[in-house]
């Protein structure tokens, strides 16, 4: 870290090689469906923005999470800016309709990202907690269910676990996410009835 903070070119070269795939993958998550050609520029800008922040970070792991946060925010800003310009401006709700229409899905008024309101550092911190608190098997089950859209049965078969465990782990995982990502001020109250995570984990 001291070498980075002193501007050592070799140390930065190593870090840029390590963080490039992280920043690029993050940018592609948002930009691939609409502006795939912009992802590299966004990743470069995100890593550039990371450079002065190195003075405030404690370790390289923090740099990785910050790279994700900055790349995510940059990609979302670019997406909103471009789509708003393309369609002559307008309120956010129209933008979301445009996005949904482009994806060929029915409009979803609740689709606006709850992560956009978070500062880079806050988003990085919540990602750090998510990675720390969600066990790898639970993360794998959640990925299969919510991202890969596999059924309980397919997940159970793939991971060689009982079907009943899939539901239990999903419930536990969603409860953990809800606690970590709950907005300050308690807009998302944890429902003890369905997400008694602490008692289940003990």
């Amino acid at each position: 870290m001291r070498a980075l903070q002193a501007g050592d070119a070799d140390a930065w070269n190593e870090v840029f090689h390590w963080l490039w795939p992280v920043a690029l993958t993050t940018a592609q998550l948002k930009l691939r469906p609409h502006f795939p050609g912009e992802a590299q520029d966004v990743a470069t800008e995100a890593l550039g923005e990371l450079v002065p922040k190195v003075r405030e970070v404690k370790d390289v792991e923090e740099l990785r999470l910050l790279a994700v946060s900055i790349a995510h925010h940059r990609a979302v800003s670019l997406l909103h800016e471009r789509l708003t310009n393309q369609h002559g401006g307008g309120p956010t709700k129209s933008l979301e309709s445009i996005l949904d229409a482009k994806l060929g899905e029915p409009p979803d008024p609740l689709k606006r990202s709850s992560l956009e309101a978070l500062e880079d550092e806050e988003l990085a911190e919540r990602l750090r907690r998510t990675i720390g608190e969600l066990s790898p098997p639970v993360t794998a089950i959640m990925m299969d269910c919510f991202i890969n859209e596999l059924s309980y049965e397919e997940i159970a078969h793939r991971l060689r676990i009982p079907v009943s465990s899939v539901g239990t782990d999903l419930k536990r995982g969603l409860g953990t996410l809800r606690q970590i990502w709950a907005r300050r001020g308690g807009n998302w109250k944890t429902s003890a009835r369905f997400f008694d995570v602490s008692s289940e984990q003990q």
Binding site: D8, A9, W20, V22, A43, R64, L127, I147, G167
Partner: protein, 127 residues
Amino acid sequence: MNADRFFDLAMRVIARQATKSERAELDALVAEQPELKAEFERLQADVRLAREVLPLVGATQATTPGLPGYARGRLHTKVLKTFGPPPVHGETTKEAASGTFCRWRWMRNLAATLEQAKSFIKQRTSR
């Protein structure tokens, strides 16, 4: 009501994997206990959140592709602008200020030269 059953039904409905009978079972549960409607909506929000957060968690583990040359150039320019020109001999700024790094390199080179001289003399005497 079994909370686990409600959760499983809700998950299947949210994932659009529920059968007609499962959908009907969930509807009946919600009709019986209207407070479950709010819980169902909360679960929908949780799933939306998971769909946003999990790909970011996955992105932290990405290892490919490699850094392209043009990006490396731009980024090193940024480092240069932020921290100033690199110190001479490749040492860090602090080390340059104290001169420790240069002294250390000089000592290391001297030691290596002495070692070479020693082995040369050893070879000559053994002949």
